[in-house]
Assembly symmetry: C5
Homo-oligomer: 182 residues x 5
Amino acid sequence: MLHIEFLTDLGAKVTVDVDSADKLLDVQRQYGRLGWTSGQVPVGGYQFPLDNEHDFDWTLIGARKWTNPEGEEMVIHKGHAYRRRELEAVDSRKMKLPAAVKYSRGAKSTDPDHLREKSDGEFEYVTLAIFRGGKRQERYAIPGGAQGQGSRSAPSAAQRPAPAPRPAPRPAAAPQDEEAPF
Amino acid sequence: MLHIEFLTDLGAKVTVDVDSADKLLDVQRQYGRLGWTSGQVPVGGYQFPLDNEHDFDWTLIGARKWTNPEGEEMVIHKGHAYRRRELEAVDSRKMKLPAAVKYSRGAKSTDPDHLREKSDGEFEYVTLAIFRGGKRQERYAIPGGAQGQGSRSAPSAAQRPAPAPRPAPRPAAAPQDEEAPF
Amino acid sequence: MLHIEFLTDLGAKVTVDVDSADKLLDVQRQYGRLGWTSGQVPVGGYQFPLDNEHDFDWTLIGARKWTNPEGEEMVIHKGHAYRRRELEAVDSRKMKLPAAVKYSRGAKSTDPDHLREKSDGEFEYVTLAIFRGGKRQERYAIPGGAQGQGSRSAPSAAQRPAPAPRPAPRPAAAPQDEEAPF
Amino acid sequence: MLHIEFLTDLGAKVTVDVDSADKLLDVQRQYGRLGWTSGQVPVGGYQFPLDNEHDFDWTLIGARKWTNPEGEEMVIHKGHAYRRRELEAVDSRKMKLPAAVKYSRGAKSTDPDHLREKSDGEFEYVTLAIFRGGKRQERYAIPGGAQGQGSRSAPSAAQRPAPAPRPAPRPAAAPQDEEAPF
Amino acid sequence: MLHIEFLTDLGAKVTVDVDSADKLLDVQRQYGRLGWTSGQVPVGGYQFPLDNEHDFDWTLIGARKWTNPEGEEMVIHKGHAYRRRELEAVDSRKMKLPAAVKYSRGAKSTDPDHLREKSDGEFEYVTLAIFRGGKRQERYAIPGGAQGQGSRSAPSAAQRPAPAPRPAPRPAAAPQDEEAPF
C-alpha cells in the first residue's frame, strides 16, 4: 500500500491511501483536478521533456489551463497564473541550451528568496515548469488526448511555430500575471 | 481511506482518519469548530469567491466570527483577531482589480517576514482571507444557511452596501486588532 | 481513529494511535507526564484563560511544576525553566489589557529570533504560556483537583493576591532562569 | 500502537511500528545500532544526568563510541566525531553550575547558526550531549552493563577522576574533531 | 511493518509500506530506479566507503550514472548532473585525509546557503556524495555486480588509476555541470 500526501485546495494536509504504485498517477490526476497538490514545486520549476508540452496533463501537479481575457494561454496553480513563454535554443561558446517552453510569473513580494530568479534588469520571476529536451513520456500526457482540456486546443508538436527569440519577461505586464481568476 | 492532519487548539499535531473524500469537509467543520486547523494559512491569505463571503463557513479553516466590544465584525483564528475590510474595485491603466472583502490584522513583531504585507507608510499587515471575483461554491457555505453562526446576521449579497473607497489600514487601531478574546 | 505525534523526552518522533477524539486529552496527559510534547509552542506562548491558571494541568503540554532552591514556583518544559510573573491590568488611552499570569524565561543565544520578545532595555525573553481573560475550561484542569501536583498547593482563584504592578523581567536573574533541574 | 520515525544511515525517512510504549526504547536501541536517528539533536545538545554518563547507551540516539588513533575516547553520530570534555563545577556570585561531561565538536562552515555555540575567542562548537546534575535513570544505561560497548571500559562513577579545570575547546585540534571514521 | 517516505520524480510526497527491515533496501532500489528519493542529501553529501565506489548502486539514493556528450562519467540526481572528481590523500602537519572520490556540481543561485561549499577563489559547489576511507559494505553494491548499470563499465578497485593531484573545481566548466539530460 502507498500513501500520498496532498495539500487540498483549502490548504489542508490530507493523505490518501493508494492500492498500488501503478495507480498513483491516477490518484494524482483525480485530486489534482480539484487543485490538490503534493510536495513543493521544485526550485527552478518542474522539469519535463519538450515533447510532453502540447498535451501535458496539468492535473498531475494540481494545475489547469486558462485563457486570460486578452486571449493568452496561461496555467493556474495554487491561485497563481503562469504565462507560457517559448525560449529558443542557445548555442554560444559559453552555453548550449536546447529550445524550451517555460511557464513563469512575476515574483511577488511574498515569494521566498530561493524561488526568485533574476532576469534582465531588476525583474524577478518564479517558474512553475520548464519543458526542455528529453524524450516524451506517455504517462505525463492527458489520457485520451488533449481534447477537452483547457480552453483552446493545443497545437501538435509538428504545428508548433518556431520559437521566437528568447524574450525578456515583460515587466509592464507582470502585475497582471499575478492576478489569477478564482 | 484519507487522513487529515490537524493542529489542535492546544497546538498538538493530530491526524484524523476519514472514510471517504466526500466526508472530508464535514470532518474539517467538526474539528474546525474546536479551533483545530490543517495546514498553513497560504501566503497572502486564503482566496475565496466574493459571493461566498456573506455565509462563509469559517469552521472550515478553524476560525469563527466575533463581534468586538466596539461592535465591529471580526474573525478569530488561532488566537488572532482579523478585521473585515471592504476593498472597492480598481480600474486604472496599470491595474484592474474587482471588488473584494479582506480579513486582515496588523502585523506583530513575531510574525515571519514572508507573511507581512506592506501598505501605505510603514504599516504592515497579515491577511487571513480575501474574497474576490470567482463563482460561488456552495460547499464553502454554512450548511443550512448563515443563521446561528456569528454574532450578528450577515447581510445577503444583494443587501451588501457598495464598498467604501479602498481604505488604508488603520494604524491607530492596529494594536487592538491583535488582542483576541480567548 | 486518531493519531497524535509526539517528540519524546529523548527527542524521538513518535506517533501514538488514539481510539477516539474524547480520549485525546487523556493520552496527552499520559505521555506529557513523561515530558513528551506535541507540536511547537505557539509564537508568543500558549494562551489559556486566567481562571485556568491555579489548577492548570501542565502535563497537557509536557511540562511540570518545580520549586527552585530559592522557593520560587517555576515550570519545567523541554529542559527549560520558566518563571511565573503576574501582569496587572493595563487601561490606558492606547491599550486595554486584562490582568494576566505569564510563564517566561530569559532568551538564550540559541533561541530563534521569532521566539524572542523584546522588553525594557536590551533584555529578551521567551514565553511558554500566558493566562489572560477568557472563560475557565474545565478540561484544562488537573483531574481531581490541584492536590498532588507540583511542589506547593496553588491558591484558588479567590485567594489569589491582587497582582503586583506589571514587573519588568529581572535581567540579573535571567541566567539562572535558564538552568533547569534535570 | 506507536510509530517511530527514523532517519536511516542512508538518510531515508522510515517509520517503524512499535507494539507498545514499553518496547519503544528497545526499538530505538535496535535501529540506533545501525546509525538510525529519530528527531533532531536538541539545540544545545541532549541533556542527561551526570550519573548516566559512564554506561550511557549511545545506541539510544543512533551514536557509538570510538577511540581515535591518538587514543582519545570519542562518540560518532551521523558521521561527526564528538570529543569528550569534562567541565568542572562553577560556583561564582554570578553563576552556579554543577560539574558536567560534554560531548562536542568544532563547528563546520555548513552547520546552521542556531547550533553554533560561541566559546573563548572566535572558536565555535556544536554539542551532541551534556551530562549534568540530575538523578540516574536506569533506562538510559546499556542493558547488562557497559561491557562490550565502546573500545575501552568506562570508569565507574566512583572511579571517575576529579574533573580538570573547565577547559577551553582546543582550536588547533578542532579540524581533526570533524573527521570521523566511516 | 515499516513505512518509507519518498519524494517521487514528480515531486509528490508518497509513503510506501515495507513488510520488514531486511526488505528496505530492495524497496529503495525499486523506487530509486524511478528517481524517487527519501530524505534530504546530508549537508556535505552522502558519505560512503571508498571501496564501495566502483560498483555503488546509485538507485539506493534515487540517482543514476550518465556519460555526458564529452564522454565524462557523471551522476544524475533530482535533475542535477554531478561530476566525478578524484581527491588524492592529504598528509600535512595540519591535516591528514585519505584519498577520496567526490561527486559534486557547481552551485546554482537557487541553492540554499548551507549546501554551498567554498573552494579556491569565488567558486562554490554542492556535493552529492563522497567516497572516502571506511570498510566496503556489500549492501551498497549493485546486486549481481556493476554490469548493466551506467553507460560504461566501472573499473575495479584494483584497476583504478592513482588519483591525480586534488583538482580545483573547474569554474569554466561549472555552468555545464548543471545542465542535466532529462
